[in-house]
């Protein structure tokens, strides 16, 4: 087993053993493989990148080629325990509708995304007057796949409007490390948030 990404380490603590998982944008399947091994979950990953799909197949991960922007209507209501989406919310066409779909299919969902309210991002825009670029956000405004950037507060307002309950939130730096300083002012000092949400 390769060393697990730190965000995946945070996610796994919220996954119940023997549960059903759906991983949206599953990459090469490292989270699913880890959860299958450690938590005995059953799961499927959705992915559209051809190389990553082939990697999943080689890794023995149940991968399904499916475009998240075309919806998840092929999954029944409440058919999955936890629907996970790491670092893809900001890249889909309608994050709000996808969140609805995730919580229609799943009892719970786990979402991670970069914080556009991170202090460096705010200062970049304020001082340079240009769309922020960083290691986490390495793209130009015109070619970025991140078409719906939001701040932690934006996300929490959306959850409130939709009646989505936030079960847990962990805020980390760009290496997915927790740090006491981040806890002082997470919406300013946190770079990536990991939300555990439900409708129940």
């Amino acid at each position: 087993m390769n060393e697990l990404r730190d965000d995946l380490k945070i996610i796994q603590q919220w996954i119940k053993p023997d549960s059903q998982i759906l991983d949206l944008g599953c990459g090469e399947g490292s989270l699913l493989r880890y959860l299958e091994k450690e938590k005995n979950v059953r799961g499927y990953g959705l992915e559209i990148n051809p190389d990553k799909i082939t990697a999943c197949i080689a890794n023995g991960v149940n991968v399904i080629e499916q475009d998240l922007d075309k919806g998840l209507s092929n999954f029944n209501d409440n058919s999955i325990d936890t629907v996970i989406m790491t670092q893809a919310l900001q890249a889909v066409q309608r994050p709000d509708l996808l969140l609805d779909e995730m919580l229609r299919i799943g009892d719970e969902a786990i979402v991670t995304f970069p914080n556009f309210g991170y202090w460096r991002t705010r200062f970049y825009l304020m001082l340079k007057g240009r769309m922020p670029m960083s290691e986490t956000l390495p793209y130009n405004w015109y070619d970025t796949p991140n078409i719906h950037m939001c701040t932690f507060r934006d996300f929490e307002v959306l959850c409130r409007e939709k009646g989505i309950r936030i079960l847990n939130r962990t805020v980390v730096d760009d290496e997915h490390k927790e740090h006491w300083t981040i806890r002082l002012w997470p919406s300013m000092l946190g770079e990536i948030a990991v939300y555990h949400i439900t409708r129940k």
């Binding site: 059903q20 799909i53 082939t54 080689a58 991960v61 399904i64 080629e65």
Partner: protein
């Protein structure tokens, strides 16, 4: 015509005719008292008999899936792109079994075979076989070869339907099912295409209600039309535009009804070639097997309940421009598999080649196929499940 056999070819192969004298009761209720199956194998069966792969052929395929019968062959077997040393179905690891299905015209018992009860060719009296009958006969072939469980059963199109049928009919005898460019049942449009093809054959004056052999004729024009229609449904609009465009054979219009566009002469050539090698009654029968296939029919048309019987793992592949067996049809299988909580990988491969893509060495398709079959080989080598 290979001057030398390529390194990644299974080389020169010889088919073998196996006789079965245990009667086979068919779905229609009729019984085949005895029958032959024409079989080719590639690679070596291991001591545990755990590395066997069954290849199921499509409408016009046969047992000759890979390699060459002689140095004079113009082309290798129909799925040589996928079967051979180092290829997706690697014959260094696997023992590959390919056969001509019952009702075929390449050596297995079919309409051109002698009916032992009458001493004459079956002709149109050959019983209409269903996909499940093929699977039953393939299971007997497995028994004969000493194969209790296939490492994988693999097929495209009508072949994929046999794979699906295997997974629910003999769940304990299949470890992996590879279903390519297929569907859980035909659509009305597909059945309609088949009926137009059958009518083209049936209305040919040389068909004689299927008794053409007794009349010393073959319904060549009808077969040609059927094949031309079939062939154009296997290609995509893009593929035809790329391959032929509006190119003219003689570079100018002749204001006649003879074939003038390249695409016309291509279809004529394909139809002509097919009509001399393929039996019309077999074509009628194979298209019927396609039309009848509907495994969920036995489960109140609930595909999830049907597929729940399977115990194997699945790879499902479709192609973007395939409109005869579109990606949506493969996705019906995939969604049912997910709802039934089965292990499944699914890829929809970008291709311009329409339904024919499943026979082509498209790099992404071959990568996926190879990655999956490598997993199958590793499990087999490890002795695990």
């Amino acid at each position: 015509m290979p001057d030398v056999i390529p390194n990644d070819s299974v080389g020169l192969v010889t088919p073998e005719l196996l006789h079965f004298d245990e009667p086979l009761t068919l779905r229609s209720g009729r019984v085949l008292p005895e029958y032959d199956l024409m079989v080719e194998t590639y690679g070596t069966l291991n001591a545990e008999r755990s590395n066997a792969i069954l290849i199921c052929h499509a409408l016009s395929g046969d047992h000759h899936a890979a390699g060459y019968h002689s140095m004079d062959d113009k082309k290798p077997g129909w799925w040589d792109t996928a079967i051979g040393p180092g290829k997706a179905i690697d014959t260094n690891h696997f023992f590959v079994v390919a056969l001509n299905n019952l009702g075929g015209c390449s050596g297995s018992t079919g309409p051109t075979s002698i009916n032992p009860e009458t001493g004459k060719a079956y002709g149109p009296d050959f019983p209409i076989v269903a996909v499940r009958d093929w699977v039953n006969s393939q299971a007997r072939l497995a028994d004969r070869l000493g194969i209790q469980q296939w490492a994988a059963v693999v097929g495209g199109s009508l072949g994929g339907m046999q794979v699906l049928r295997w997974s629910i009919q003999f769940p304990e005898r299949v470890r992996h099912a590879v279903i390519i460019a297929s569907a859980p049942k035909l659509s009305a449009q597909n059945i309609a295409f088949n009926e137009v093809a059958r009518q083209a054959i049936a209305k040919d004056p040389d068909f004689h209600d299927g008794h053409y052999l007794e009349h010393g004729t073959i319904p060549k024009a009808g077969l040609m039309q059927a094949r031309m229609l079939g062939h154009l449904t296997y290609l995509s609009d893009d593929a035809m535009r790329q391959k032929f465009g509006r190119e003219l054979k003689e570079g100018k219009l002749n204001y006649s009804f003879a074939p003038e566009f390249e695409v016309e002469s291509y279809l004529h050539y394909q139809g002509e070639k097919f009509s001399t090698r393929f039996d019309a009654n077999t074509y009628m029968l194979m298209t019927k097997a396609l039309d009848y296939f509907d495994p969920a029919g036995d489960f109140n048309h609930d595909l999830v309940a049907c597929i729940s019987r399977a115990q194997c793992k699945f790879l499902v592949v479709s192609f973007t421009t395939d409109w005869r067996f579109s990606p949506a049809r493969s996705e019906e299988i995939v969604n049912a598999l997910m709802q039934a909580d089965k292990d499944v990988c699914y890829a929809c491969v970008e291709s311009e080649s329409g339904h024919d893509a499943f026979l082509m060495p498209i790099p992404r398709y071959m990568d996926i196929f190879r990655a999956y079959m490598t997993r199958v080989a590793n499990e087999t080598a490890g002795g695990g499940q």
